[in-house]
């Protein structure tokens, strides 16, 4: 299967491109064995210590204001890529640029512009309102702005009745909504979501997409979204990238379905990756025989 890109450069000019991933490779150091490292030493001497490949030479761009989906099977490097964007993992080579700044080497220049759905609500017996106020304070928002955004978002997410409830009394779906509201309150330009709808029922999920879409359209925020739910990706994403440790394709969900001649994105995705795996296996066999 040949690689398909709707536009090879993906971002025609850097001004319209929020995020640029350029030749990104990540190899994790070999897993340590044993207590004293003797086995590691033996393995090193025998040349058996191999680094673990997570990402290989990946390049694509995400346009400002779009909802970009990152798809791939388990272990394909999605979380690694998110962690590199968030500068909690360093790449082995290549780089990720946001607004022209290297997210790992010039992190201080983009601090406060990228947010992920990671909130720490340790105080479970504090109400939703106070927890959200604290979350807003972490983004340096003025008090009035915190109230304004909170009121706007609790209405979008249908959470007004829960504002005075302790966090501990919320269901896990509701708790995730609070996390989502806290994330959106940040006002960050790029939101990175790593499987945010995990564990949510279909009703909550559907509502969440609608609400998030509504928010995104109004605010012009760029959304970088990884998911295993392909119906979700088909419904929500403007464009998608499929990775399997290397880049398979960057396209729109609609285009991929059409090009693969399948009924929906899930079938197209399976077909694409099967073809890709067969091709990869064939290629490696060929290399071995040479």
């Amino acid at each position: 299967m040949a690689m398909m890109n709707d536009n090879p450069a993906d971002c025609p000019s850097s001004s319209s491109c929020g995020l640029e991933v350029e030749n990104l490779t990540k190899l994790y150091p070999p897993v340590r064995k044993g207590l004293v490292g003797f086995r590691d030493l033996v393995d090193t001497l025998k040349g058996r210590r191999e680094e673990v490949l997570a990402l290989k030479d990946i390049s694509f761009g995400v346009r400002g204001g779009e909802w970009f989906g990152l798809l791939g099977p388990n272990g394909s490097g999605k979380t690694t890529l998110c962690n590199i964007i968030l500068d909690t993992t360093t790449p082995t080579s290549g780089h990720v640029l946001y607004d022209g700044f290297d997210v790992n080497r010039e992190h201080e220049k983009i601090q406060g512009r990228i947010c992920t759905m990671q909130y720490q609500f340790l105080l479970q017996r504090v109400n939703v309102r106070d927890s959200l106020r604290r979350a807003g304070a972490e983004w340096m928002l003025p008090r009035e702005e915190i109230e304004e955004r909170m009121n706007w978002l609790v209405d979008i997410f249908d959470m007004r009745e829960k504002l005075d409830d302790w966090l501990v009394r919320l269901s896990s779906g509701m708790f995730r909504k609070v996390m989502m509201i806290a994330t959106l309150m940040s006002g960050a330009e790029l939101l990175v979501f790593d499987e945010p709808t995990q564990g949510m029922d279909v009703f909550t999920r559907k509502k969440l997409y609608q609400q998030l879409h509504h928010f995104q359209r109004d605010s012009g925020t760029t959304v970088f979204w990884t998911t295993h739910n392909l119906h979700e990706a088909e419904e929500t994403c403007d464009r998608i990238a499929v990775i399997d440790n290397h880049l398979v394709t960057v396209t729109t969900p609609k285009k991929l379905v059409q090009e693969m001649e399948k009924a929906n994105l899930e079938e197209a995705f399976i077909s694409l990756l099967r073809g890709n795996k067969t091709q990869t296996r064939g290629a490696s066999k060929g290399t071995g025989s040479e």
Partner: protein, 297 residues
């Protein structure tokens, strides 16, 4: 792109974050009514046990030793002041070593100084428990056991500050160690905690330990390398013995061993602070390379 906020605005928000955290922690603290009552009763029982136990120890030779070495007139004031000093250093340690394990991934992208968030994070429910415990200890020690604390001593607060600086460095070291090795315990903290109660003079005068046949010299060595020993000695001398700031400075002490107390404490504070910062930086770098800075919600 948002404009960079001014310094005044930043300070205002930092203060806001800390006070919001404090307010939320207070809500949480008072939400556990039964638990709070039980803990308060537990602390009162504890202070009574130590106070009464100290009162039962009536030994003139020991009391003379206590006055000359620690500046405490009797065993009751020795024991209760030891616990108060220990708890004060615990309160003033600025950050929780586990903060970086769970907080780094969360706060790294916030438009904030990580240190402010770390301090705000430390002002949580546990701090309230510590403050309540300490208040109960001081109140009961003063009213029931007639211990005379001199909290106005500047020298005392200098000692507490140096002790807190040392603990802060140690916490940074623990944070860096656990990030780099993914283990929950580091050897320095393990040593610090396991030897703390017995060898530093929190409850037992260290001079009494040093005279035990055969093992005494070994105990002395452990006491002397433990920085908390110096916090306990200098803390008691200022808090109970009313030594002034000038009096705890080395040149005012006649005996040679006493001259090293304050310099050792300062050196330990600076050394562990530098060690802590270096270990933390190395730990973060390594964890980023290995991809182990995981978000655990």
């Amino acid at each position: 792109m948002k404009p960079e906020p001014s310094l005044t605005r930043k300070l205002e928000v930092y203060a806001g974050l800390i006070t919001t955290g404090f307010g939320n922690a207070m809500h949480q603290y008072f939400s556990y009514r039964t638990q709070s009552t039980m803990k308060i009763v537990g602390t009162i029982m504890e202070v009574m046990v130590w106070g009464l136990l100290g009162g039962l120890v009536a030994n003139r030779a020991l009391e003379a030793e206590l006055i000359s070495f620690y500046g405490t007139p009797d065993m009751v004031s020795f024991m209760l002041s030891g616990i108060v000093i220990n708890r004060l250093v615990d309160i003033a340690q600025f950050i929780d070593p586990r903060f970086f394990q769970r907080g780094y991934t969360i706060y790294h992208n916030r438009p904030f100084s990580m240190w402010v968030v770390a301090i705000a994070d430390a002002i949580d429910v546990k701090l309230f428990w510590k403050i309540v415990d300490l208040t109960l200890y001081i109140t009961f020690a003063t009213l029931v056991f007639q211990v005379q604390f001199h909290f106005t001593s500047l020298g005392f607060w200098l000692v507490i500050l140096l002790g807190a600086l040392f603990r802060f460095g140690l916490n940074l070291f623990t944070a860096g160690w656990s990030l780099a090795t993914r283990s929950g315990q580091d050897p320095i903290n393990w040593f610090y905690h396991t030897t703390s109660r017995l060898f530093t003079g929190e409850l037992i005068p260290i001079t009494a330990l040093w005279t035990i046949p055969i093992i005494g010299p070994g105990f002395k060595a452990i006491s002397l390398i433990h920085p908390k020993t110096y916090v306990q000695i200098l803390g008691r001398r200022t808090l109970i013995g009313q030594a002034s700031l000038r009096q705890i400075l080395p040149q005012h002490w006649i005996s040679l061993p006493a001259q090293i107390f304050l310099p050792v404490l300062i050196a330990a504070g600076i050394f562990f602070l530098l060690l802590g910062i270096t270990t933390l930086k190395t730990g973060i770098k390594r964890a980023k390379r290995e991809g182990t800075l995981m978000w655990r919600g």
